[in-house]
């Protein structure tokens, strides 16, 4: 589990694979279950490849993530619920 990080702390250009969705706190104003559902609806599901494409100017937030064929934007705080692993490590 050494190379597992939270997507919310991933640097620009990071490529990886989603390992788990684990909402931990209630900082998002919605229940962890709702956050989990929304993330799945955006396309975050165990096993998909992601890439951090862009980040905002202030606090490098929010971030734009490439998932399969679509690009989604979210804040780092919510992205903390997504556990990812370096893609290079899998190969």
């Amino acid at each position: 589990m050494l190379n597992q990080i939270r997507l919310g702390s991933a640097p620009l250009g990071y490529r990886g694979t989603v390992e788990a969705i684990e909402p931990c706190d209630n900082a998002s104003g919605i229940s962890p279950e709702e956050l989990e559902s929304r993330l799945i609806e955006l396309g975050f599901i165990e096993g998909v490849s992601i890439e951090v494409l862009h980040e905002g100017f202030f606090g490098r937030d929010p971030i734009a993530i490439r998932i399969n064929n679509s690009t989604v934007a979210l804040r780092r705080r919510e992205a903390m619920a997504i556990l990812v692993r370096d893609r290079e490590q899998d190969i």
């Binding site: 279950e33 559902s37 396309g43 494409l53 862009h54 929010p62 679509s70 690009t71 934007a73």
Partner: protein, 627 residues
């Protein structure tokens, strides 16, 4: 069975995720045969259109708000769910559900299909934007997809000529089918576990039916490198906004002049051809100049909406929300509040209506409450008149025009106070409710389709003119009544308005407004100004008996320069930044929030701000010797 069907046209509903091209498909299928209304009780647009199938069936097509799932999260999405499930009061459950999916991004669409299959209504899947999918080399085995899903799958392209022919012929067959009246739905809100399973299934299916994976859209990628660049992206956004404002204020001017002189012509025709008296005054001052003073903003609103619709169609608006999210978040606002607030610079009414895209209720309320603080175009005539009359046309620090600087300051004061109000709401009153998440899809860039933009623009224009013709018209009549009754006594020398109810109200207000430097003439002018801010200019003209009305703003300014002190003029400017001087904005707030409470809150907080700001401005100016 055929007879029963002929009596009642089949109702087909379009369901799909945002950005799947559903509305373009709807436009392609129904053309100009569409009707936009609101669902009863809520302010979600109900779009329906008629389609005559090749063998003569009448099909009523409804375009439901875009949704990622039937797990509704915003008022829009609830409508979609309730109609699909048939639980919406007064709306029949559709005979057929047409699920629209973006052929270049099937993941979302297929997940929606599996939810819709549980609803139990007849269902077909349309793979929209098939032309883009083909161009990007995506191979989809439609036959296989259809047999795996157990439903009809039809490829379509809303933009290509003949791109919807297959779909129309298929709908023709379906319209002739015999629909069972009722079906049991076994849809329940899926839990995360189920959502995962559904998405897995969809992904497995995609792996089976897609023979060639999509070549990534390199154009979008390259454009985003520039447009979403942390610093460069913000700069481009600013530049775009600047261009937009230039366009709204300079391009619109000639047309606005034309409209305004058209209404003046109508007014003078009325004056010349109607017998003098009450009826003539009603037609000229109540009807013609009342409606004219609002209709004159149509060009500005259309230009603003053209920009917004083009940027939206192009796919840029989601990027703007992305770029602005952090900046807006500092004031407790949602990234999506950006577009509504931007529209509010033209007019708060379309701005407030555009807040419907914000799903969190408090975020939406915060945006609605501050939208009227954005300097709308109706304030410009008032600002221009006072600035021209009281602020000397000289340069400061050698290069900057003082008058322009004051104008800029007024805009900045509006924006700054809006951000402050939202900050106070978020961190003082609603401290306990955490910030909701910001999540949205950044769609691939697409060339805007002129036809879609035109259709949307026409419906905006219609809605605006309809409003001008109803609510605003009623308001203008009321204000004309206040300003005209009772009639002046025989042999009166002062302008008629000085004997009217408006004058009585002005005099009643006088003690309250004297501390902020307003005389009773200003108080009177503020009353008609409630209908539309800029009407105050014409009213001041009337009160000071200056001939020429609106067009003579410069002349009015000269007269005012002799009658008011600088402190009073500055105080009136400060008043206009904040004051809730627009009855139609208040009416829209009432309608959009569904309660008079929020209208009252907006009115009183703005009034309080206006009073304090004017009081401070007046007294500081007096102290500085501007009395």
């Amino acid at each position: 069975m055929k007879i029963a069907l002929l009596a009642k046209p089949g109702v087909f509903a379009l369901v799909g995720a945002p950005n799947c091209g559903k509305t373009a498909l709807f436009n392609a299928l129904t053309g100009s045969q569409q009707k936009v209304a609101n669902y009863p009780g809520v302010t979600v647009e109900h779009k329906s259109g008629r389609l005559k199938s090749p063998s003569g069936w009448d099909i009523s097509l409804i375009d439901l708000p875009g949704t990622y799932s039937l797990r509704a999260r915003s008022p829009d999405e609830e409508i979609t769910r309730n109609i699909v499930l048939g639980t919406m009061e007064g709306e029949a459950q559709p005979d057929l559900i047409i699920c629209v999916a973006d052929a270049t991004n099937l993941r979302v669409g297929l997940r929606l299909v599996s939810e819709l299959k549980r609803v139990g209504r007849p269902l077909v899947l349309v793979l929209n934007m098939i032309d883009i999918a083909e161009r990007r080399g995506i191979g989809i085995d439609i036959k296989r997809l259809s047999s795996e899903l157990g439903i009809d799958v039809i490829a379509a392209s809303a933009v290509r000529r003949g791109g919807t022919d297959d779909l129309v012929y298929r709908l023709d067959d379906l319209a002739a089918a015999n629909w069972s009246a009722n079906t049991e739905s076994n849809w329940t809100p899926p839990e995360p576990r189920e959502l995962r399973a559904i998405q897995r299934e969809a992904d497995a299916l995609i792996a089976q039916v897609i023979s060639k994976p999509a070549a990534p859209d390199t154009l979008t990628k390259r454009l985003d490198k520039v447009l979403l660049h942390p610093a460069g992206g913000l700069l481009i956004l600013l530049l775009l906004l600047f261009t937009m404002f230039q366009a709204v204020f300079t391009w619109a001017q000639p047309v606005m002049d034309l409209i305004s002189s058209g209404f003046d012509l109508l007014g003078s025709l009325a004056r010349d051809h109607l017998p003098d008296g009450l009826f003539e005054s009603f037609i000229e001052n109540g009807v013609i100049s009342g409606v004219g003073s609002v209709v004159v903003f149509l060009p500005q609103i259309l230009i603003l909406f053209t920009f917004i619709l083009l940027l939206e169609d192009f796919g840029y608006m989601a990027r703007a929300a992305f770029l602005m999210d952090r900046i807006m978040g500092g004031a407790g606002l949602h990234g999506r509040a950006f577009i509504p607030l931007l529209s509010s610079f033209a007019c708060a009414i379309p701005g407030i209506m555009a807040t419907r895209v914000i799903d969190n209720r408090r975020d939406r309320l915060a945006t609605i409450l501050i939208a009227p603080l954005m300097t709308c175009s109706a304030r410009i005539p008032v600002y221009t008149m006072i600035i021209a009359a009281f602020i000397p046309a000289r340069k400061v620090w050698g290069i900057i025009e003082l008058q322009g600087l004051v104008m800029f300051g007024l805009y900045a004061a509006g924006i700054g106070s809006a951000l402050a109000v939202s900050w106070v709401l978020k961190y003082v009153f609603w401290r306990d409710s955490p910030t909701p998440p910001f999540m949205l899809e950044l769609p691939d860039y697409k060339l805007p389709r002129p036809r879609s933009v035109l259709i949307a623009l026409l419906s905006r224009a219609q809605a605006f003119l309809y409003r001008a013709g109803t609510t605003i018209f009623a308001m203008m009549v009321l204000i004309w009544f206040l300003a005209s009754f009772p009639r002046p006594p025989e042999g009166a020398t002062d302008p008629a308005i000085n004997y009217s109810l408006a004058a009585s109200i002005g005099h009643v207000l006088e003690p309250a407004l004297a501390p902020i430097g307003f005389n009773w003439q200003i108080d009177i002018a503020l009353i008609p100004g409630m209908a539309a801010r800029e009407v105050a200019v014409a009213s001041l003209g009337t009160v000071y008996s200056i001939e020429g009305g609106k067009e003579a703003a410069e002349q009015i300014g000269h007269a005012l320069a002799n009658k008011w002190t600088l402190a009073t003029a500055l105080s009136l400017l400060a008043w206009y930044i904040f004051a809730p001087q627009c009855a139609s904005t208040l009416a829209v707030i009432r309608r959009e929030t569904g309660s008079a409470k929020w209208m009252a809150i907006t009115f009183f907080y703005m009034l309080a701000l206006a009073y304090c700001a004017s009081f401070l401005t007046y007294h500081i100016a007096l102290l500085a010797g501007a009395g």
